[in-house]
């Protein structure tokens, strides 16, 4: 008897499971830029004072904010309260200063200063109008803790912080 052995072979096709990571991209163009307009410089009207006042041969630093979208950003600008680099100062330095709107690109921004708020050395402006605003930071440093001591000779550097923050 012949046996028939039939081998039935079953070949099953391998079906892979497909998966893919799909990237979602997006770009956010900056609608607020901050640029240096005028670098600052300290004048030295007397031995114990450094000031940005032009009357004392100083120069007030001016920073420029360009905003292309209204009511989306706020500007925070501060005046310095310490030197970022200086000779060794064993005595105290008393800092005073102010941040003001130097000029605007439209009269609609003329109320920025009045509407701004201040916290310590930092002033915050709501940029409610699209356009350009120039902010000026003035500062005065007096050495000696009221004793009018002379600043040690050397180079002094301070930093003004200007930020554009989304509301």
């Amino acid at each position: 008897m012949n046996k028939l052995l039939i081998t039935i072979s079953l070949i099953l096709g391998a079906i892979p499971v497909l998966a893919e990571n799909i990237d979602i991209t997006g770009n956010v163009q900056s609608r607020c830029t901050v640029n240096l307009d005028t670098p600052g410089a300290y004048g030295n009207p007397n031995a114990y004072t450094l000031t940005t006042a032009p009357a004392s041969a100083g120069q007030e630093p001016i920073v420029r904010f360009d905003v292309s979208l209204a009511n989306a950003y706020k500007a925070e600008v501060s005046y310095p309260t310490s030197f970022s680099s200086s000779p060794s100062l064993p005595d105290n330095v008393a800092w005073t200063g102010a941040v003001t709107v130097a000029q605007t690109s439209t009269s609609d921004m003329s109320g920025y200063q009045a509407a701004s708020s201040i916290a310590g050395s930092k002033r915050t402006y709501a940029l409610t109008v699209a356009g350009t605003t120039w902010f000026k930071s003035t500062s005065i440093a007096v050495y000696g803790g009221g004793q009018a001591k002379a600043f040690p000779g050397g180079a002094y550097k301070a930093v003004v912080l200007a930020e554009c923050i989304a509301q």
Binding site: Q103, T104, S105, S107, S110, G111, Q113, A114, W134
Partner: protein
């Protein structure tokens, strides 16, 4: 405040070929917060209207320095009329600055530079017409060719002869003068030596035995001809007015 769009205001490029692409203006408004005040800055357009105009209404606003950029499509300068700043309401503006941004086409006029496309080499200037010159028709030549005054010519020949004679006499006179000078010089030298000898003598007795050095040149002078002839030419020239008369007559020709 008003200005013209010409080289006096815009500089050397304020001519054909300038295309303005924008304006930057800045000023300080001077006003009270509650006052109404409007500032308008503009440029007239040739043919009517304005090329650009910008208005800021400061009414009820804080006065603060403004700086504004007005972009424009490239606009030929020829379209720009006068520019001005005008205000309405109560207030003024100070420290006004208006800056025009531009590009300049140096080949706007192709003839301005041989490298410009369309440059046409200019024709050389026409040769000036020079009239023919005929020397025979020249009054000056005619005058020069007129008959000479024979009398003057003869006088000149006579004077020439006398000049030659006077030259000979002058030579003699020069020779005589040289001789005389030499004698005088020699005398002076001799006298000087004698005086020196006298002065050097401490004893008067030596004066009597002193010998005069042999430095005297004995020379016999002879004047040739025996007399010096006067210059008759000079006397005759002074006595004649021929040349003067001729010069006077020349004025009326």
């Amino acid at each position: 405040m008003q200005w013209s769009m010409n080289p006096d205001t815009l500089g050397a490029y304020g001519i054909g070929g300038m295309d303005i692409s924008g304006v930057i203006y800045t000023y300080n408004p001077i006003k009270e917060l509650e006052d109404d005040f409007v500032v308008i800055i503009e440029n007239d357009k040739v043919g009517g209207g304005f090329v650009w105009q910008d208005k800021e209404d400061w009414s009820g606003k804080h006065p603060i320095r403004i700086k504004k950029v007005i972009p424009l499509a490239y606009t030929p300068l020829a379209l720009f009329g006068k520019g001005r700043v005008r205000t309405t309401g109560k207030g003024t503006v100070e420290d006004v600055s208006v800056i025009y941004m531009f590009r300049f086409d140096s080949c706007f006029n192709p003839q301005s530079d041989p490298s410009c496309p369309g440059y046409v080499k200019p024709k050389p200037p026409a040769v000036p017409k020079i009239p023919d010159y005929d020397a025979l028709e020249d009054d000056s030549v005619k005058l020069a060719q007129e008959d000479l005054d024979r009398e003057l010519l003869e006088d000149d020949e006579e004077v020439k002869d006398e000049d030659d004679e006077e030259d000979d006499n002058s030579d003699i006179q020069t020779l005589l003068a040289s001789t005389t000078n030499a004698l005088t010089l020699a005398n002076q030298v001799a006298q000087s030596v004698i005086l020196n000898s006298i002065n050097n003598a401490t004893n008067i007795g030596t004066y009597y035995v002193a010998k005069i050095p042999d430095s005297y040149i004995t020379e016999s002078v002879v004047l040739q001809g025996g007399n010096i002839v006067d210059n008759r030419k000079a006397l005759r020239s002074l006595a004649q007015d021929n040349l003067m008369d001729k010069m006077i007559e020349e004025q009326y020709k």
